[in-house]
Homo-oligomer: 310 residues x 2
């Protein structure tokens, strides 16, 4: 029988993902729970009730939690750790609860390539995991893309997270689909992306990458008016324009300093596929890592590093 060693959790704004982890530092079991926006501050109660089946079987396991659980609306606020940051620093900066049985991972801050303040919570743990799952990332300069509601573009140098940049691409896509005439009102945003319409949006970005997005997005309406785009494909075309603009701009801004042809993408299968398609179309080479696997590996890294600290 495999022995459970600890419980890891990525507690984001809209979802909680809990992992029961063993010796191999991969998840034995997984379960989902309510995000930070739904627990109304009752993190402890929500957590204890969710993990009861695991603790009944395995006893009082150590717990490592990352994400919004450490934010100002979280269980306990962990200060942002300023970049550049090494994995050991993240582990050392965890805030301990219940006499060290629970550790909350800090988020990271930086001045991004444009000189603006930038922040992440949760992605730092996925990046730690990626360093463990993809040892090639521990040497040299690498560009990593973590697509999501707030897509993060991170630069790793010799295993240190140097800086990152946030593009709220997913949040803007959802907002434009829900609230504007760019997409027909009856379109379900969560429906499947049509790959042809998505690729067509990407091609438009590739044609003139220097054009500002504001002068492109009306096409998801005007092409319908002219009969050149099916109403049901407007959201997919818009997604191609947005992700294309994000990827194209990020490659131009960040890839030159990295000088590596491979961009690592860490995310859900759906978003990783869209970003990989965009990166390939815009001359990037791609290697995809599963977002949940990266979270588990990162939580496991922090569990191990904090154990060896004690």
């Amino acid at each position: 029988m495999v022995t459970a060693k600890f419980i890891g959790g990525d507690w984001g704004t809209t979802h909680l993902r809990l992992f029961l982890c063993g010796q191999e530092l991969t998840a034995l079991e997984q379960l989902d729970g309510p995000g930070a926006n739904r627990v109304c501050g009752a993190y402890e109660k929500a957590l204890d009730s969710l993990i009861r089946a695991w603790t009944d079987r395995h006893g009082d396991l150590p717990i490592v939690l990352c994400g919004m659980v450490g934010s100002s609306i979280g269980w306990v606020e962990t200060p942002y750790l300023p970049c550049p940051v090494q994995p050991e620093q993240i582990a050392r900066a965890c805030i301990e609860l219940r006499n060290g049985r629970i550790r909350i991972v800090p988020g990271l801050s930086c001045r991004n390539k444009l000189g603006a303040p930038d922040f992440m919570r949760g992605e730092e743990t996925q990046l730690l995991g990626a360093l463990h799952l993809e040892p090639v990332l521990q040497r040299g300069l690498h560009l990593v893309c973590l697509p999501g509601t707030h897509t993060k573009w991170a630069i790793l140098q010799d295993g240190t997270l140097q800086e990152f940049l946030t593009a709220p691409t997913g949040e803007i896509f959802a907002s434009l689909c829900a609230q504007t005439t760019l997409v027909p009102a009856d379109v379900n945003v969560k429906s499947e992306i049509n790959s042809d319409a998505f690729a067509r949006g990407l091609r438009r970005i590739r044609e003139s990458p220097e054009t500002q997005l504001l002068h492109r997005v009306f096409e998801s309406r005007s092409l319908r008016l002219s009969g050149e785009l099916a109403p049901g494909h407007a959201a997919s075309y818009l997604s191609g324009l947005l992700i294309g603009s994000d990827v194209s701009g990020a490659l131009r801004m960040l890839a030159p300093s990295v000088r590596t042809p491979v961009v690592h993408v860490i995310g859900s299968s759906h978003l990783s596929r869209l970003y990989s398609t965009a990166l390939s179309a815009l001359d990037g080479e791609v290697r995809v890592l599963d977002g949940a696997a990266a979270s588990v590996a990162g939580l496991a890294q922090i569990y191990q590093l904090t154990r060896s600290n004690n």
Copy 2:
């Protein structure tokens, strides 16, 4: 006593503006009514009840209407007239109702500078009015900006509307304020724009105009997190980023073909001020025309041209 000659109306999506016009082709009186999204198709009834006081006094006046009243959800659908278009063509393409007593102005279509289909309804009438109010526009090449929910950038050559480009800047601003974490949830979008925060957004665009908007807009959140931007100024800063991106991109794309330092801005006083500030900050010279005055002058032009056609 001044004699009323006709009634003009700009019937947009959200507002109807009616003008009682006399010999001088400027409005004698004005009144407001429900937009196309509120009359539920009952245009005739809404119009007749609104203008009763005027027709009681002045008899059955000719009526000229522009805007969404001529769209597929309007009173009668007027086909889009393809650019390049001269003023006389717009007058000739009006659709007549009530035996010619009511004329509905057609919208315009074009292939814009980016090769995409583009459309306008209502702004063509303001452009006609501008040609009348600003005779300098009748000779040479000119760039005209009509800021709004869907901002239009139009190129006039010797009094002919050559082409235009739509940026849904106002619609995207409203959507991002209402639905995203970029602006605090309790901010009233319709509140005053803070000019310092707006100018700060513009400066960021000016610093690196080639940066894509998606890599800028998270700043309206991150600067609050870092304590560098007051929560109440986030919407103003975001407005500066959006209008700055629109103006900067449009000047780069369209101004070279125009080779004139003056951009004419036609709109409401609020939006004209914001766009003028952005144009000035981004090296454009500006001349502002009042949007309602341009509508009246355009409707009057069409009234005169259709009279001489008969």
